[in-house]
Amino acid sequence: MPAVIELEGLTKIYKAFGGPVTAVNGLSLAVEQGEIFGLVGPNGSGKTTTLKLLLGLLYPTKGQARVFGKDPVTDTAVRQRLGFLPEGPYFYEHLDAVEVLSFYAQLFRIPKNEKRQRIDRLLEQVGMADRQHVRLGQCSRGMVQRIGLAQALINDPDLVLLDEPTSGLDPLGARDMRNHILSLREQGKTVFLCSHLLSEVERMCDRVAILHQGHLLEVLRMSEVTGSLEDHFVELVEEAQRH
């Protein structure tokens, strides 16, 4: 089965006043269908940049990214199969959860009769059914994150891209988010998530790619990691810094 995500020599160089900044450097990896794949690294390692390159929000300087075999920059139709939850998501504050999901459902041209059912089901799944008419401007961070996950799933995507999904959540909220993500794999979906919270990644991911300063240090299967991921990560990064 072809890989859901294929990155080949993916490079992104930003032009900045102080000189060019290489955010991602020659990144090559593949994500298989049905797995939860984690991209980890310290802040500024290129995780979010990689995610945005997959969504066509950024354009590669070199190399290519392919999602379901298509170029996400030129083929907007591939986004029909994607769901995306950005870090610390923001939505129109004057809308409530139902209105937000309705808006995003319209972007996918989901038929009206199906739209309401999906919205109700998703709000139930993320635990926002009894607060569906609270304006987002009055919602807590955790509530907005849940609504964000619901909007990422509104189109029943095959691939879900999550940027720091548990960041800023309390332990209960993080646990709920983790359970939601694990349930996505049970539904046969592929999940690609970025996180610097290694303890969370350890509990969710099948495989993990470790980034440092835009470079891929290693791709490993969680089942092959002896000890903690954090120790392994620190060891790798320190070795990379020595070289």
């Binding site: 945005k52 969504l55 066509g56 929000l57 950024l58 354009y59 907007t76 139709a77 986004r79 029909q80 994607l82 995306f84 950005p86 610390g88 998501p89 923001y90 939505f91 129109y92 004057h94 808006f103 995003y104 972007l107 996918f108 964000g148 909007q151 189109n155 891209l161």
Partner: protein, 251 residues
């Protein structure tokens, strides 16, 4: 979404209130002689509608894209199967709908003011007045297109200043046309520059029908058609340019 969001923006609602008040108070000037009073009402109301519509157009257009970027809402929208053309045109027409609603409210108050004066009744069906209101719509649609196009690459602050500058400079089209003539400016480079500015800038003065309205002069439909046609072409070019800039933008 743009329309709904615009309805909730306080600054736009405040501008609308000011517009309604300035149109409404025009009828308090009954101490002027009858002929002057009507001229004053027509001038002040037309001017208020034009001015406040321009303000709303620039404020809406200038904050269009920068607002979405600052709120980070643009990430979740452009990550959906929404083309950038669709996004840009959706923002433009949503803002245009807001403008139309505001102009309709201001025009309705204007009609009430005219209806309250016996000598205002003929103006309720005056073709020049209605053509003038129609051209206000076309004028702000053009100004909005410019502001939206510039918003794809510029900050709100820059765009506000730039759009106002284009609007007010565009009122001086006839001046630039005069200055492009050899009898006015000897220097060929200077003349060329004036001619370039004249041909590039939109001629906003052409949308202003206050003078014929006040003088009672008819305005041919052909004139309205020509000005509208030119504006539509200009809008299409400006939005196309905006799309080109927007398509290169990274988020």
């Amino acid at each position: 979404m743009t329309f709904r969001e615009a309805l909730r923006r306080r600054v736009l609602n405040i501008i609308l209130v000011f517009a309604v008040v300035s149109i409404g108070v025009s009828q308090l000037f009954s101490w002027l002689s009858t002929g002057e009073e009507m001229k004053f009402i027509l001038d002040m109301c037309s001017n208020s509608i034009r001015f406040f519509s321009m303000l709303i157009a620039v404020l809406l257009g200038a904050s269009m894209i920068p607002g979405e970027i600052e709120r980070h809402t643009i990430f979740t929208i452009l990550s959906k199967p929404v083309g950038r053309t669709q996004f840009l045109l959706g923002k433009y027409f949503g803002a245009l709908l807001t403008l139309l609603m505001n102009i309709a409210i201001m025009s309705a108050i204007f009609m009430v003011v005219l209806a309250l004066k016996k000598q205002g009744h003929p103006y309720l069906v005056n073709p020049t007045l209605w053509k003038g209101l129609f051209l206000v719509v076309i004028e702000v649609a053009l100004l909005l297109a410019i502001a939206v196009a510039v918003s794809t690459v510029a900050s709100t602050a820059f765009n506000l200043v730039f759009s106002f500058f284009i609007y007010f400079t565009g009122q001086m089209g006839s001046v630039f046309n005069e200055l492009s003539k050899p009898e006015r400016v000897a220097n060929p480079v200077g003349r060329g520059l004036m001619a370039l500015v004249y041909h590039i800038l939109p001629h906003f003065e052409n949308f202003d029908l206050r003078q014929p309205l006040l003088m009672g002069d008819p305005v041919p439909f052909r004139y309205v058609g020509e000005v509208t046609g030119a504006a539509v072409v200009y809008i299409a070019v400006v939005l196309a340019l905006g799309y080109l800039l927007f398509s290169q933008r990274e988020f």
